[in-house]
């Protein structure tokens, strides 16, 4: 025996009775709580979208996507520079904002706020809208690579093993609602974003348009012949 090891002591009959009662009561309440929780959770999971459709979070600086995208014609990759390079799309550094807003936007409250923050070396606490759990590793670059370029719109794959030149109607419609089957379209890298993010350029407040839950990912992967091995995303 190793000194200091835990020694088992026999319980007294009184202790046995107490533990017994506690056990039965505990088991009962556990079952009750478990049933209750199951109902709540299953009802919750019946919801299609975690963040509600109708509203996105309030940002510390009300960045107007429509002004920059629709009015000025900047494309997504102008600011979200890493999206074609790596895993994260990334929020641009305030320095990038200042390339224009050093001179543009004098007198606008939001812009003055931002300049002040940058001058103080304080980070802007953007609220993240699209978020997958920690155990999911989503890579933007690979998805953009798959969908960008010249593609023919199809209903079903002509050759299930060779899909590089084709895009399914479902995805195509998300990029451009006016396309039809058989049409050939050239998809720019920045256009691919709308497959999952919707038309962010027209959103005053950015909100999530797809569930982005595992079912959503797997459906799309399956439809597009992408790997569905667990370690594609989970590691």
């Amino acid at each position: 025996m190793i000194p200091g090891d835990f020694q088992v002591k026999k319980p007294t009959s009184k202790q046995l009775a107490i533990f017994g009662t506690l056990g039965v009561v505990g088991l009962g309440s556990f079952v009750a709580i478990a049933l209750g929780l199951t109902w709540i959770v299953s009802a919750w999971l019946g919801m299609p979208v975690i963040f509600a459709h109708d509203q996105g979070p309030t940002q510390p600086i009300a960045f107007p996507h429509p002004t920059h995208v629709q009015d000025l014609g900047l494309d997504c990759t102008f600011c979200h520079r890493n999206v074609t390079e790596g895993a994260a799309a990334t929020i641009p550094s305030a320095g990038l904002c200042l390339t224009c807003h050093q001179v543009v936007g004098d007198g606008l409250e939001q812009i003055e706020n931002m300049r002040e923050q940058v001058a103080d070396d304080r980070p802007i606490d953007w609220v993240r809208v699209h978020r997958v759990p920690d155990h999911v590793h989503f890579v933007h670059e690979a998805h953009i690579r798959r969908f960008s370029g010249v593609k023919t719109v199809v209903e079903e794959w002509t050759d299930p093993n060779e899909q590089a030149g084709e895009i399914r109607l479902g995805e195509a419609l998300r990029i451009d609602p006016s396309v039809s089957v058989g049409q050939t379209m050239e998809i720019a890298e920045a256009q691919v974003c709308s497959v999952c993010h919707g038309d962010v350029g027209s959103m005053a407040t950015v909100e999530q348009v797809r569930p982005l839950k595992m079912g959503d990912c797997v459906d799309c992967h399956r439809d597009n012949g992408a790997p569905t091995d667990c370690t594609t995303c989970h590691y």
Binding site: G4, G36, I40, A43, M47, I50, A52, A87, A94
Partner: protein
């Protein structure tokens, strides 16, 4: 039907209770929360990882590393594949540099002591204030003309930073002392004596047929372990015949475990053994005749007295074994003899090492492939390879001087004197007679905790620097260290934050109106000037048309080296020296302190990864244990985990017993580096400090601390504590007699 969160709440609740239940269970909210490890600073380009080359400064041998930086945060250390010392690999200690960078107990800015000295209570002050206080004090001393009472104690600081320190101290008129806890003064002096060189040589293990080492745990902590280990890999299974490796040591170390033969030698008799080997080689005419003449001073040094039969008793190695080793060493060359560690840490350490290194002369393996490769001098005019280290005798004298009030200001940088100097020196008590102790450490080590003023330096990953590796790889090499991340505690305006040590000294010099005659106003300028010297040489691994191009290339590759610039001059062998008998006190066991894989000589104690790194032999972690022979332990009634009191002439400590079959019955081994009185949450009050109970004995020639020359008694205290170890964490896999976990073959395929 799709429902929104709000509708859902209505359905669930209808009542407040529902909402409460829902809020309380919190399932969806949790799922949404990415446990994002990083609060992303928005001013950085995020997302992509960048790899920057720099140097690791976790142990005295700098290795070239590349650091993965994401979102402005250092994530991972890997070896720099180009850097000649480690060539892509790295040690466990390098990796932990990351934890030093993000350690929760780092010093955030300059501080001044409040309350009693040593109480560890500080108040943050501004840089201006801190620099002002130090400058004022130095100014006053200067006015009194008492500059020599200012002492600067540092780790062996080399490269350009060493140059700045030297310049500062000499211009001011103070004294600079270098400190190494397990000092290698004896090794350096022996190298100088045997090879006529100030720099440490490189050991070409890779091409060697026989490696004979004495005391040096060279695969684990001694010298340049990663470089040695890389050579060892080739030595064992490279494109060549498998080499033979004999290790002579009083402790069964990790290096001993990897040797083909471990030869136990009585502590302090390593030199005798080496002389005996030399005697056999010369006697049988196996060695280089000219070298034999020179070593014995034309026969005047009588080796006959050291014939195996004569020394077998003293060394504890049988005459046959000595003979066998000698023959193997001399006749299956190229071979190399390495000495250090405990072999050089006795009262006769210097003589031991001279005898050991002279074996290389005897078999003609100096500056030959597979032997000892001498290193060339520094490529810089003003930066030497070897950083100054003062011997224990000097520190002992300093303690005396402090006691007599001869030291007015003690400035300390990364030299943990309070932890490393044996209690017998009385250093701690003497420090109360020093009016001002200033620390430049970025971390509250034991010495910083005793200081009055702290001017913290950057972590090495945030800092500029350079290093000329000692030992180098056999040709001129300079490592350059660049900041891979912005300082974690950034210095904004004049408040808070850490600073480069060189810059701090330059700011103090400015305050004293002292011209350091350095090529620039910042340390970075000094470094750039050094790089310019290399640029103008126009040779080596980095070539560019412009200096800017050269500088960028230098930082990209992590340094500069010129593999055509080697040391060609080989000194003739100098005569052997008498090996005096090592002296010990009269107690039961030889005490073998040793540096561990994780916390090394104590510098890694603050880092949780290092604390949790199992010692290779015992697999113990986080504590101070004492290795004792299992039969001896049984006789003494000691079993694993028993708290034993280890008493020397100088004091006593407690440690957890770990009996194992690899210890000699007359030896106990205790890891150094624990027992800090400060050092952050992971090091403070953990284990015991074996340095403190070392006898204040030193090597008779060099004055170096004879840290392996203490004898101790052992008493069981009656307490028991589980040894935190990896061993038995997992149950042993099912195996049978035929199927071993480790299979062994006598054949080299």
């Amino acid at each position: 039907m799709a429902i929104t969160r709000r509708q859902f709440m209505t359905y669930v609740g209808g009542s407040a209770a529902g909402a409460v239940v829902f809020q309380a269970c919190g399932v969806p909210a949790d799922e949404l929360l990415v446990q994002a490890p990083v609060e992303m600073p928005e001013d950085l380009v995020t997302g992509l990882d960048n790899w920057y080359a720099t140097l690791c400064r976790q142990c005295s041998t700098s290795e070239g590393i590349v650091v993965r930086v994401m979102e402005g945060r250092a994530k991972k250390v890997e070896g720099n594949i180009d850097y000649p010392i480690n060539q892509g690999s790295h040690s466990a200690r390098c990796e932990a540099g990351l934890q030093a960078l993000y350690h929760p107990d780092r010093i955030r800015g300059p501080m001044v002591r409040v309350g009693e000295r040593g109480s560890g209570q500080f108040r943050e002050i501004s840089w201006e204030d801190a620099l002002g206080r130090l400058t004022e004090q130095l100014q006053n001393i200067q006015n009194d003309g008492n500059q020599s009472s200012v002492v600067m104690a540092t780790d062996p600081v080399g490269g350009h930073l060493g140059g700045v320190v030297e310049r500062f101290v000499s211009k001011y008129g103070g004294r600079h002392m270098g400190y190494e806890p397990m000092e290698r003064t004896t090794v350096r002096r022996a190298i100088k004596h045997v090879f006529g060189q100030d720099t440490m040589p490189d050991f070409d293990i890779e091409n060697s047929n026989v490696v004979l080492s004495f005391g040096a745990d060279f695969l684990n902590t001694w010298g340049s372990p990663v470089r040695h280990a890389r050579g060892y890999g080739e030595f064992r299974q490279g494109d060549r015949e498998r080499g033979d490796f004999i290790h002579v040591d009083s402790r069964f170390s990790m290096t001993a475990a990897n040797a083909d033969k471990w030869v136990f030698v009585n502590p302090g008799t390593e030199g005798l053994l080496a002389l005996s080997i030399a005697q056999v080689i010369i006697d049988e005419g196996l060695g280089d005749a000219a070298a034999a003449q020179a070593l014995t001073n034309n026969g005047r040094f009588n080796l006959g007295a050291f014939a195996p039969d004569n020394v077998a008793g003293a060394t504890g190695v049988s005459a046959e074994r000595i003979h066998e080793v000698a023959v193997q060493f001399a006749s299956h060359g190229p071979s190399v003899a390495i000495g250090g560690g405990s072999a050089g840490a006795h009262t006769n350490g210097f003589a031991n090492l001279v005898a050991i290194y002279s074996l290389n002369q005897l078999v003609g393996s100096v500056n030959k492939p597979g032997g000892v490769i001498l290193n060339p001098t520094s490529p810089f005019k003003d930066v030497p390879v070897t950083a100054g280290v003062d011997s224990f005798a000097d520190w002992h004298r300093l303690a005396e001087e402090m006691r007599n009030g001869g030291v007015q200001v003690l400035m300390v940088r990364d030299a943990d004197l309070f932890h490393g100097l044996p209690q017998a020196t009385g250093f701690k008590g003497a420090s109360f007679n020093v009016p001002l102790i200033v620390s430049f450490s970025g971390f509250i080590d034991d010495t910083t905790a005793m200081s009055d003023l702290v001017l913290p330096q950057h972590n090495s990953l945030e800092d500029w620097g350079s290093d000329i590796p000692d030992a180098g790889p056999g040709y001129q090499t300079v490592g350059f260290q660049q900041p891979v991340v912005r300082p974690f505690f950034e210095h904004r305006g004049e408040h808070l934050g850490t600073r480069n040590f060189g810059d701090t000294l330059m700011a103090v010099a400015l305050g004293l109106e002292m011209d350091l005659e350095l090529p620039g106003d910042t340390f970075q300028d000094v470094l750039k000037d050094g790089a310019r010297q290399l640029f103008e040489e126009n040779r080596g691994s980095v070539k560019a048309v412009t200096f800017e191009g050269f500088w960028n290339g230098l930082l990209q590759r992590g340094g500069w080296w010129d593999d055509s610039k080697k040391e060609t001059h080989v000194f003739a062998a100098s005569p052997l020296v008498e090996v005096p008998q090592a002296s010990f006190s009269n107690r039961d066991f030889y005490l073998m302190p040793f540096a561990t894989t994780g916390i090394g000589d104590g510098r890694g104690a603050a880092l949780p990864w290092m604390q949790a790194t199992p010692d290779p032999i015992t697999s113990a972690t986080w504590q101070t244990w004492v290795e004792i022979n299992m039969h001896t332990a049984e006789e003494l009634g000691i079993s694993e985990g028993d708290v034993v009191r280890i008493t020397s002439d100088a004091g006593s400590i407690e440690a957890l017993a770990y009996p194992h079959p690899g210890v000699s019955p007359n030896v106990v081994a205790v890891p150094v580096g624990q027992g800090h009185i400060a050092g952050g949450r992971y090091a403070k009050d953990r284990g015991s400090n074996v340095y403190s109970i070392l006898d204040a004995s030193s090597d008779s020639t060099t004055g170096a601390l004879a840290w392996a020359a203490t004898k101790v008694d052992i008493v069981k205290t009656g307490e028991w504590k589980r040894v935190p170890k990896l061993e038995n964490t997992v149950t042993e896999p099912p195996r049978d007699d035929e199927r071993l976990i480790i299979e062994i073959t006598p054949l080299d395929s």
